[in-house]
């Protein structure tokens, strides 16, 4: 009997395909459809509304007469009135700020660590594993962990600041203060993901021939000059990938924000994904949420495409 038929390969990937379709493909394809409808809270009724959901978003980005502030990015709409008018703009704003902060704390710090520990030797290997370790924790666990550590006055971090005599930081509401919430979450994010970027950069550094570094040393370069003038430029393809991962990661972030804000993100801790979930499932406005998802997906798609196109276009570095 012949076991192998021409359709066997398709049969083998069928289970994965079914799961993928149910969980990702179909919902993704349904998003544009939903974005053109209005649902009631029970999700039972779908009414065609055309582009109304998109139109509802427009005022957030258009300065109307008498509107409280200009919608420039990186400037928070702060007053309640302002936020009520521009809640999505504010989430998007936060998300962009968060992106820049994670570029610093995840990618930047990962690069810094890679420069320190990308050497031969068991000790350095141990450090790499150590820095990577947070990656294997669930973000929910990480969130809870840090929430405990950051609790004003009694948490580990505030107590530390108390110990070194900075009273204002001892009582600081790290996660509830609009001035520090986003920064704090970004640093926690960095604690988790820097190790991941460390591994990527470290692999990139290993790929650079040793003689290039040695030639630079003999040429008179200090270790720092070797890093910035030789190694870092030669890492540019890795850096490109890391930046891309960080961009997409920032607009997919959810868990940390949800946990650290007690599942009730404030206007200053809302980012696009948390905002979408709130709109879709707490307010039952699936159509409006889908419209937001469509817009943000389009923006990320364009940014990513430009980035990839620029990466492809430049000449390849050969070692």
């Amino acid at each position: 009997m012949k076991l192998y038929k021409s359709y066997t390969p398709y049969l083998l990937i069928l289970p994965a395909l079914v799961i993928y379709s149910a969980m990702i493909l179909i919902p993704a394809m349904a998003t544009p459809y939903y974005s053109l409808h209005h649902t009631d809270k029970s999700y039972k009724k779908l009414d065609w509304v055309g582009f109304d959901n998109y139109k509802k978003l427009a005022p957030e980005f258009i300065k109307e007469e008498g509107a409280p502030s200009d919608p420039t990015f990186i400037r928070f709409p702060r007053t309640d009135e302002e936020i009520s008018v521009r809640s999505f703009a504010s989430a998007l704003n936060n998300n962009v700020v968060y992106l820049f902060l994670t570029l610093l704390f995840e990618v930047g710090f990962g690069l810094f660590l890679a420069a320190l520990v990308s050497r031969d030797g068991r000790l350095y290997g141990m450090f790499r594993v150590l820095f990577f370790a947070p990656m294997i924790l669930s973000l929910v666990v990480v969130g809870i962990l840090f929430k405990v550590m950051l609790r004003p006055e009694i948490g580990l971090v505030p107590q530390f600041f108390g110990l070194i005599g900075i009273e204002s930081l001892r009582t600081q509401q790290w996660l509830a203060d609009p001035n520090t919430a986003l920064l704090t979450i970004s640093i926690i994010s960095g604690w988790v993901y820097a190790g991941f970027y460390l591994v990527l950069f470290s692999a990139g550094l290993k790929r650079i021939p040793k003689e290039l570094v040695e030639a630079a040393m003999v040429d008179g370069a200090t270790p720092r000059q070797v890093f910035w003038r030789i190694q870092f430029p030669l890492l540019r393809d890795v850096t490109s990938v890391c930046i891309l991962l960080c961009i997409t990661g920032a607009f997919k972030a959810y868990d940390l924000f949800w946990v650290l804000s007690n599942s009730k993100p404030d206007n200053f801790t809302h980012i696009v994904p948390t905002y979408i979930v709130e709109k879709a499932f707490n307010h039952g406005d699936l159509g409006y949420a889908s419209a937001i998802a469509m817009i943000v997906t389009t923006i990320i798609f364009i940014v990513t495409a430009i980035h990839l196109w620029r990466t492809r276009k430049r000449e390849k570095l050969q070692f």
């Binding site: 021939p209 290039l212 040695e214 030639a215 040393m217 200090t222 030669l234």
Partner: protein
């Protein structure tokens, strides 16, 4: 100026492997020294210790009268040309050459002057705006040389710089390197596994084997008076015939016969060497001589290389192309005693009888 001194330098790698043991060397100013030996004998390790890229386990290294044993490579004022050229891939040729000077904050016009001089000297003016990836091996080689030259260092270090080039380009670059040395009058330390390169380039050569120095001598000395069996076998275009032998009542016994007569005391336990170009061939027995049969003839145009079967051993000998030897011919081998090299079979060191 560019003197280099190695005092009892030793290198043991962290793995416990002793790559270089007790290396002593005095390199005079503007001398061209070649470290030569088979692959894995510790040449690169020695060079890298001089450059500061490999820590020294024991001993001291001085450059230009300064102890640099524990000095960072950047502060040693040496330039190095790597086998792989090690050009910075993201910089064009000009930037590659300027790199070391910019790092040292050399004035701009001085940098420009040196780069254009070196480029003219090496014939790479047209390459200056090109990136390494778009250059041929020979071009990269020149840029790597240029990068070293513009530095005007105390000492140039070369680690097999020609071995990635094809044979023709290699001999061309060899001549150019020699000319460059004569022109710059700089101290150069050059590593190669190719004894022809060593012989043609070196003012003196250091022959190494298994991390030990076998001999430090001029190429001619190493050829005429190899200090050990290893050197005897390593140096020379045609490999020396080396077999055990003895001296017995003035008769040099080699390959179960008398190859020559010498004056001197009896000696057993000898290793005796004779270069193919020094093998005396004759069709008739006259005086000393061992008898053999021509097994293979290689014709090289101007000369013949004969493989002669003596008993069970093969002896190489060279003869003029006009000598008319033919395969299967019976022949007698003998030697001028002055051409025989005697070594102690225990220590393998040279003996003067």
């Amino acid at each position: 100026m560019g003197k280099v001194t190695l005092e009892s330098v030793r290198k043991v790698y962290p793995s416990g492997f002793e790559a270089v043991s007790r290396f002593d060397l005095d390199v005079a100013d503007s001398e061209f020294i070649v470290l030569v030996g088979p692959s894995g004998c510790g040449k690169s390790t020695t060079l890298r210790m001089i450059a500061g890229l490999e820590p020294v386990t024991e001993g001291r290294i001085q450059i230009a009268g300064r102890d640099v044993t524990n000095v960072h490579p950047k502060d040693r004022d040496v330039a190095m040309v790597f086998q792989s050229y090690a050009l910075y891939p993201h910089m064009n040729a000009r930037a590659n050459m300027e790199f070391g000077l910019k790092i040292r904050k050399t004035p701009k016009d001085e940098i420009a002057r040196r780069v254009s001089e070196a480029a003219a000297l090496l014939g790479i003016v047209d390459l200056l705006d090109k990136k390494p990836a778009t250059m041929s091996g020979g071009q990269r080689q020149r840029v790597a040389l240029g990068r070293a030259i513009v530095r005007e260092p105390q000492v140039f270090l070369f680690d097999e710089p020609l071995s990635n080039l094809d044979a023709k380009l290699r001999s061309k670059m060899r001549v150019e390197l020699k000319r460059l040395h004569q022109r710059l009058r700089a101290t150069m330390i050059y590593v190669t596994h190719d004894q022809v390169e060593a012989m043609t380039l070196g003012d003196r050569i250091v022959i190494m084997s298994d991390g030990k120095v076998e001999q430090i001598a001029t190429p001619m000395e190493a050829y005429l008076k190899p200090a050990s069996v290893f050197v005897a076998g390593f140096i020379g275009r045609n490999k020396m015939n080396i077999f055990p032998g003895s001296v017995d009542g003035g008769s040099v016994r080699w390959l179960a016969g008398e190859i020559a007569k010498v004056e001197g005391p009896d000696r057993g336990n000898l290793v005796i060497g004779l270069r193919p170009e020094n093998v005396r061939l004759s069709r008739e027995q006259s005086g000393s001589g061992v008898n053999g049969t021509i097994d293979v003839i290689e014709e090289l145009g101007d000369e013949l290389v004969l493989s002669i079967l003596v008993g069970t051993e093969l002896i190489a000998a060279s003869a003029p192309a006009s000598s008319g030897f033919y395969r299967g011919e019976e022949i007698f081998i003998s030697a001028d005693p002055a051409h025989l090299h005697f070594f102690d079979s225990g220590t393998t060191k040279r003996l003067e009888l």
